[in-house]
């Protein structure tokens, strides 16, 4: 407790502020590689929020899949295709203004709905402490019963295999069509 505010709240506010700053830098940065690095920062801050929400396995999956996998893959793609001048991606001011207006309108509408619901600010956690541990996830994912997620789990594994084969097929060098 610092100044009557619980410690987890302080951590949440600091992490949330950091996350928003990192996300803004991600979006407005001219250098696409810098933008990918700040995306990693955003994802790690998200993992901290998951830990605060007692979803430890989600935090581990977030760091492993997003920060460790997706963004590294993305950085590879950026480096493989980086012979582009940054000045070729200039966006004109009206377009930026319209995009900002759309984003601000989204925020205003969502904010209006959220502020109108006082129970959101007072809701306390009703999840049991074991609800989002690794064991609970594994039991639910692999149980074939009415509450289990066995079929989606198998479909996801099939989908991952398909995506692997498809991306190798798309990206592999096509020797005879190379000079097209």
């Amino acid at each position: 407790m610092i100044l009557g505010i619980p410690f987890s709240d302080i951590v949440f506010y600091v992490v949330a502020a950091f996350m928003i700053v990192a996300a803004v830098v991600t979006v407005v940065s001219k250098n696409i590689l810098q933008s990918a690095i700040f995306l990693i920062a955003t994802f790690i801050a998200t993992a901290i929020v998951y830990i605060l929400l007692q979803a430890e396995f989600m935090a581990v999956a977030q760091v492993m899949v997003y920060a460790g996998g997706v963004v590294v893959f993305m950085i590879f793609a950026i480096l493989l295709t980086s012979h582009l001048g940054e000045e070729s991606f200039k966006v004109h001011l009206p377009r930026k203004f319209i995009a900002g207006a759309i984003a601000a309108a989204f925020l205003a509408i969502m904010g209006k709905f959220l502020i109108g619901q006082p129970e959101l600010a007072t809701a306390t956690s009703n999840a049991s402490a074991e609800a989002s541990t690794f064991g609970a996830y594994a039991l639910r994912l692999l149980s074939p019963g009415a509450n289990g997620f066995l079929i989606p789990f198998e479909l996801i594994s099939l989908l991952l295999l398909m995506a692997l084969v498809a991306s190798v097929t798309i990206a592999k060098k096509d020797e005879d069509k190379e000079e097209k």
Partner: protein, 101 residues
């Protein structure tokens, strides 16, 4: 930390993602913005599972599925992007009008 705080954080992140998706012209930049939006949706899932759900395990399991599908989407999207770069020497979306040839 209340549910309201988490939702506001998620919506701010989502709005930043929308802004990025609309202003970027670099294909990788647009993908990064989509990642930000998916991340915001995941925060929503986990926050509702923690505060409101009758079944918290099922609530946060959905974000596991979102993460898996995002990984697939990124793999295919980046493969398409590398092929596109090889053929057009450009990743500017405004120059990809000749996609039909």
């Amino acid at each position: 930390m209340t549910l309201l705080n988490c939702l506001i954080l998620a919506f701010v992140l989502f709005a930043i993602g929308v802004f990025g998706l609309l202003t970027r012209r670099h294909l990788v930049g647009m993908l990064i913005s989509i990642e930000l939006m998916l991340n915001a949706a995941n925060i929503n899932f986990v926050a509702f599972a923690h505060f409101k759900a009758a079944d918290a395990t099922a609530g946060s399991l959905f974000s596991i599925f979102v993460i898996a599908i995002t990984a697939c989407e990124m793999a295919v999207a980046l493969a398409i992007l590398i092929t596109m770069y090889r053929r057009h020497k450009s990743l500017d979306v405004n120059r990809l009008e000749d996609l039909h040839d």
